[in-house]
Amino acid sequence: MNIPNSDVGAAVELSNVTKNYGRVEALHDVSLTILHGEVVAILGPNGAGKTTAINLMLGMRRPTSGTVRLFCLDPGDRGARSRCGVMLQESGVNDVLRVRETVDIFRGYYPSPLPTTRVLELAGLEDVAERKIEALSGGQRQRMYYALAICGDPEALFLDEPTAGMDVESRRAFIGGIKQQASDGRTVILSTHYMEEADQLADRVVVIDRGTIIADDSPASIKARVAGRRVTFTASPPPLEVDFLGLPVSGLELRDSRVRFHSGQPEQALAAIFRRGWDIQDLEVVGADLEEAFVSLTTKREAGLLPDQEAP
């Protein structure tokens, strides 16, 4: 078999990929290159197209148009598959088997798997190794899927919302484990809808919304853009939209004297607002949650302030 030396190329490459399910467009003309050893978080609200993107990278789905390469190969290629570990959002294993047996079966699919004891240790499953999968708790089950993803000692890890359903504590431990894997030089591609997770883990955050990439940057830059502050106050006389022209605000809402907006630089915005000489009451400046951050990003997109896609 001919194994191309693919270290020079990208680990994953999507070129102008569009994916339709029937009449629903899940991804629209997405281009994305992920290099070897990169740790990338794909961030987006539910239904944004994160899972579709990962499924396309893995050859679980075929693009309607455009091309997908995994280690410079077709994603369905066994050579490419043998170098990937995968945690899917929706999947199952045979519940009547024990944890250790299941790990051993999956190890058998890979050319150079990690020793079983090592896998169980990395996934924190030593205590339940002999337990049947049907007897595992939700968190343990998730860790078992993680074990199946890493057991082949893969070069690239694909994790589709791996912490879904975990409590805060186990999520933290879990993210720590993935961090360890990433520091070994593995490529990690993880989808999440928690900004915090993306921030802790990734070198790079790709934000997907409604099937397109709306931001692709370092976590710090993304946060600066999305994790601004939500500012609300009442002002009299009631301000007009033109009063906010030139200020660093987005998602402006005016209802009589009530003002509400988003800002990456709330201090600057407020300083300018105070200079307007309005009577300002009930001022509130709070951290935006992710939902609002998306609103902020997507409204910027609609206003044409952000390109639909950015080169990585």
């Binding site: 078999m1 789905r61 075929r62 043998s82 199952g92 088997l97 000692d153």
Partner: protein, 262 residues
């Protein structure tokens, strides 16, 4: 990790061994499987075969041997339709096939392993039945015992196609058991392997020769000397049914894969 040279994927035959062991382990872990796949045919033999142990159809054929061959056809087909078919439907319903699809295990190997696992289970079920029959006093020449196993396993291959078709049809796991019972049970009765052909209504007797299970019966009856048709005809009919039901299974499989992975 990153310094590791690129390794070739695991060779096909090693993947097949891994997966067949996984399939058999899963069967082994379900205690009910033993009751249905081994217990049921043996129980039927105890009810219908044992009372006729010393009764002869003619000078060289005992009633018990005839019933044993019939129930052997039933036992083997049962495993392939129920265990393989419903097992595959459950695999899909519980989404076991998704993670497998993302793994380096090719889909073809997974199916081959399912088929091999089913045939191993069918053999176990058959051998258990024949052992009980032999120990109870059914007498056949040694070569005929072996021939019976080979003939029935060959005859049951179309049933593997039927089982997989049922397993891949329908979107819910509940449909498969209903389909299996709806198709398989009436066919088992109409094929003369649960009730002797001579006791079936004439309409059913006219249809029987065209059923795949009837051919399984003929293959078994040929070995014990109870057949009313030549073995070669049953061999040929079985091959045709194998192709038809095999093609149907391939169609059902492709349809399922297209829905999930296109």
């Amino acid at each position: 990790m990153s310094s590791k040279p690129h390794l070739l994927p695991v060779p096909w035959h090693r993947l097949l061994v891994v997966q067949v062991r996984a399939v058999l382990l899963a069967y082994w872990r379900i205690p009910l499987f033993a009751i249905f796949t081994i217990g049921l045919p043996v129980m039927f033999f105890a009810f219908f075969g044992l009372p006729h142990l010393h009764q002869q159809v003619n000078s060289h054929l005992s009633v018990a041997a005839y019933i044993l061959a019939s129930l052997g056809a039933y036992a083997v087909s049962n495993v392939l339709v129920y265990n393989v078919g419903i097992g595959q439907a459950q695999t899909r319903a519980r989404k076991l096939d998704l993670l497998q699809r993302a793994s380096p295990l090719p889909g073809g190997i997974a199916i081959a392993a399912t088929m091999i696992g089913g045939l191993v289970l069918a053999t176990i079920s058959l051998v258990a039945l024949l052992l009980v029959g032999g120990l109870a006093g059914v007498q056949l020449p040694l070569t005929n015992w072996v021939l019976l196993i080979i003939a029935l396993l060959y005859g049951a291959i179309p049933m593997l196609g039927l089982g997989l078709t049922i397993g891949y049809l329908g979107s819910s796991g509940n449909l498969a058991p209903a389909l299996a019972s709806l198709i398989y049970l009436p066919m088992a009765f109409a094929s003369g392997i649960l009730i002797p052909l001579s006791q079936l209504p004439s309409v059913v007797r006219a249809i029987a020769p065209y059923l795949p299970l009837y051919q399984v019966g003929q293959l078994g009856w040929n070995v014990v000397g109870a057949a009313n048709e030549p073995a070669l005809k049953a061999v040929a009919f079985t091959a045709v049914w194998g192709l038809v039901l095999g093609a149907l299974a391939v169609y059902a499989y492709r349809r399922d894969q297209h829905r999930k992975f296109a």
